[in-house]
């Protein structure tokens, strides 16, 4: 019998977002093993294929950083300081495995330090080349194989090719559904606002892929037929840069005369924009995907002969985004001390401004307590678009 009290669609996404570890804890109680991972690069397909629940380890903009002060210097990325702080406070004390990654300096060093202080039955550091050509893919595939072997140890079973292929298929389906959700933001006003999308994206990173796909389908069906669509605003905004994982931030932006339309971030398009190619050896496709198709400036793109060509090589996908979604302004979000995005600022501005797009760059402190002063900057930006 259908549970009439069970939340569905956007309401369910909000519930999962608000209690983001709840489902993982429930499943843990039922005997499922949970694996927490850093950033977009540890392949969730391998975790899913071994019957683990992969969950993305995120920080908390509402939680003051206190314990981490004794371990990580204040000059480092505040997001990773926050994530580590939560780890030390026991927020993730239900995970059975920790997968760190060499996504950026902060992720890398925090991964090492995490494994010293926050003990789990299994941990692995996934090294990731900075270049994506030639032998790099093979090297990365070797590292993925070590990850697989480590997780097999935790699972107590070997991972066969077919279960991995099935998991790839399930996650590819999720990617397709996320893209479908994003396409619903093409109308003006969009059919779904930025905070709602963020709630959905965070949610699917915290629940089994099958449940995530079900949730996505519910949300898509609901949004397609909804009547209470977001208000039309002056700005149709592309967000580029460091991740956003708290709707207080997106609410603030969207209450300042801007509709968030697309997010090129680690909690936006980056993990979902390309499918994993089906290859005979599935790890080949997985390696290529994470190294070559997850668009993050942490992976070095070979430079071409001129600066303009270099920009085109690195950012042409942003032009495609802007064109498809009829973007008229870009917010470059930099979590303070994020070098990966910080070095990109003048170049990405050069590129986007050459397309006629105004760009607002803000370095912020990954704290909801310091958000409000940003409101006037977003309001002023929306006026420049108008």
């Amino acid at each position: 019998m259908k549970d009439v009290n069970k939340k569905t669609g956007l309401a369910r996404a909000k519930d999962i977002y608000d209690h983001r570890n709840k489902r993982a804890r429930e499943l843990k109680a039922e005997g499922k093993k949970i694996v927490g991972y850093f950033c977009c690069f540890p392949p969730v397909e391998i975790m899913t294929a071994l019957d683990f629940l992969p969950i993305r380890l995120l920080g908390d903009m509402d939680e003051p950083i206190t314990v981490a002060d004794g371990y990580l210097p204040t000059v480092m990325c505040i997001f990773y300081r926050s994530t580590f702080d939560l780890g030390m406070k026991g927020r993730f004390n239900f995970i059975d495995g920790f997968i760190g990654s060499h996504a950026c300096d902060a992720a890398e060093r925090t991964s090492y330090i995490w494994s010293n202080y926050i003990k789990t039955p299994c941990n692995f550091f996934l090294d990731l080349p900075h270049v994506d050509k030639g032998e790099a893919v093979n090297y990365f595939k070797v590292q993925l194989n070590y990850l697989k072997e480590t997780l097999e140890g935790l699972a107590g079973k070997k991972l066969g090719i077919e279960p991995l292929k099935e998991a790839i298929s399930l996650h590819n389906k999720q990617r397709k559904l996320v893209r479908e959700l994003y396409y619903l933001r093409k109308p003006d006003p969009p059919l779904i606002n930025g905070s709602e999308v963020l709630q959905v994206i965070i949610s699917i990173m915290m629940i089994p892929v099958e449940e995530g796909n079900e949730l996505l389908q519910e949300v898509i069906d609901e949004v397609k037929t909804r009547r209470d669509i977001p208000d039309k605003k002056i700005g149709r905004l592309l967000i580029w840069g460091s991740l956003i994982d708290n709707i207080k931030f997106t609410d603030l932006i969207e209450s300042s005369g801007l509709n968030i339309i697309v997010e090129d971030t680690a909690t936006g398009t980056r993990p979902f924009w390309h499918d994993i190619e089906e290859t005979e050896d599935p790890l080949v496709g997985v390696a290529r995907h994470y190294l070559q198709e997850v668009k993050c400036p942490r992976t070095f793109a070979e430079t071409d002969t001129s600066y303009r060509e270099d920009l085109e090589n690195r950012y042409s996908y942003l032009k495609d985004f802007a064109k498809y979604w009829k973007i008229n302004g870009v917010f470059g979000n930099i979590i303070r001390n994020c070098d990966i995005h910080g070095y990109e600022v003048p170049a990405v501005k050069d590129y986007l401004e050459s397309l006629g797009l105004p760009v607002l760059i803000i370095e912020q402190d990954y704290s909801t307590a310091s958000l409000e002063p940003l409101r006037t900057r977003f309001q002023a930006f929306s006026e420049t678009i108008g």
């Binding site: 990580l72 300096d105 550091f125 270049v131 050509k133 990109e344 600022v345």
Partner: protein, 453 residues
């Protein structure tokens, strides 16, 4: 205990004559590049890639300069501020690496001046590059920075040399070392092809082999100097090291570097043999971690004078590689493979120590455990850097674990490599004064715990 220098020079804190002469190498690199520009020879702006990229570039005839080293040079000579302001006005965040901000500002000026170094540029300035040699090892700035510089040198390509950086446990997984070396060698082959294509000339592998052998020889001698430094009292201090590191870090394949290290070795050995300390009345033996405040090096001289503190060993990553066992080279004839081994072994050389003490990472951290024992240290002076942040990410962790596992305490003095406003000398001295008591306390703790020094 005898002392050679009754009064420490407050300006630099250097105590070795050879350290005072080492500035020759920094000037030589800048001068050679300017000369190469005049002669139409190719110039590369290079990161320290821990030798792999530099050895190959020089063997094919590229003159290299190091914007990192230039950053320190500008900071020490008061020329950095102007460059930093320009970087800020270009829109780069002020939180980025200070060296990179310095070179971004300089690059903008060079580009605006038709690629002729501006009048009064520190050291005559850096000559225009034909290409950039970036590095994937150590920190993100090492490739993001050069990628950013392309904005000012539109035709100069950027090549990023990568290096595997596995965790300690992962390093020891079966086959990982061999596969990593294979990756590096193939990656270096791609780099050689890039250089050959860019420069229209072929790499002379015999020359590379000679240069690699020379580099190993220089680095082995530089390591011998490190070994001499274990003596009590310490025959040289950190301020000496920061000068003498230039030849082995940047120019190990230059025979002049080897000749220089012969002189360094002789000078240090003479002190050791005669029990001459670098500072008068050495009372506390300190490790120093990360880069020093170049603009305030006199601070260390003051520490010696006021408290008898000697920096007896410092930041692992700038030191020569530990000797690689000869049997590891059995059957290795390809100079690219030797290069790969050199860099990979450097970055994994303390992984065994990391296992011994159950700490991670092996690089940036585990070396201090070995240093503490080998150099009989009383404490760690940790210097987190606002503008070289990734190098400081593991400092608190290192400090905590050294205290817990070896009863060697640490003190944190905030500072910077470029921006002198971050360094509060008065506050720093207060902290160091208090740290004396802490070190005394931990000496007793070590005794109680049966730790040897």
């Amino acid at each position: 205990m005898k002392t050679e220098n009754k009064k420490i020079k407050k300006k630099s804190g250097k105590t070795l004559q050879t350290a005072r002469e080492a500035g020759y190498f920094a000037k030589k690199m800048l001068k050679n590049a300017l000369q190469a520009q005049e002669e139409g020879r190719p110039i590369g702006w290079s990161m320290v890639t821990w030798w792999q990229g530099e050895l190959i570039a020089r063997a094919i005839g590229v003159e290299l300069v190091f914007p990192e080293n230039y950053g320190a040079f500008c900071a020490a000579t008061g020329g950095a501020e102007k460059h930093l302001e320009i970087s800020d006005s270009e829109g780069y965040p002020t939180t980025l690496c200070g060296y990179s901000r310095n070179s971004i500002g300089y690059a903008k000026l060079l580009s605006d001046n038709n690629f002729v170094p501006y009048e009064g540029a520190p050291g005559g300035g850096l000559a225009k590059p034909k290409f950039f040699l970036a590095a994937g090892v150590a920190c993100d700035a090492r490739y993001k920075w050069f990628q950013a510089l392309k904005r000012y040198f539109t035709e100069a390509p950027v090549w990023t040399i990568d290096l595997p950086m596995p965790g300690t446990k992962e390093f020891f997984m079966k086959g990982n070392k061999e596969l990593s070396l294979k990756y590096i060698v193939n990656h270096l082959k791609d780099y050689v092809a890039f250089l050959e294509n860019l420069l229209g000339t072929k790499l002379d592998y015999d020359r590379l082999d000679e240069n690699v052998d020379q580099a190993f020889k220089t680095l082995a001698l530089a390591h011998e100097v490190d070994v001499l430094r274990r003596a009590v009292p310490s025959p040289m201090v950190g301020a000496d090291f920061w000068s003498i590191m230039i030849p082995h870090l940047y120019l190990p394949d230059d025979p002049e570097s080897y000749e220089f290290y012969e002189k360094v070795y002789a000078e240090v050995k003479q002190r050791v043999d005669n029990k001459i300390g670098a500072i008068p009345n050495e009372k506390y033996r300190l490790m120093f971690a990360e880069l020093p405040p170049w603009h305030s090096l006199g601070f260390f001289g003051e520490l010696a004078e006021r408290f008898g503190m000697a920096i007896v060993i410092e930041s692992w990553n700038y030191h020569a590689i530990l000797p690689i066992p000869e049997e590891e080279f059995e059957g290795v004839t390809d100079p690219l493979e030797k290069v790969a081994m050199l860099t990979y072994y450097k970055w994994t050389e303390y992984n065994k120590v990391a296992v011994e003490y159950d700490v991670d990472p092996g690089f940036f951290m585990a070396a201090y455990f070995q240093f503490a024992k080998d150099y009989k240290t009383d404490g760690l002076l940790a210097h987190p850097l606002m503008s070289c942040r990734p190098a400081t990410y593991t400092l608190l962790h290192t400090k905590n674990t050294l205290e817990n596992k070896l009863k060697v305490p640490g003190v944190v003095i905030d500072g910077d490599i470029i921006d002198l406003r971050v360094f509060n000398e008065k506050e720093a001295f207060s902290k160091m004064e208090a740290f004396v008591e802490t070190m005394d306390h931990y000496r007793e703790e070590r005794k109680k715990a049966g730790i040897a020094w």
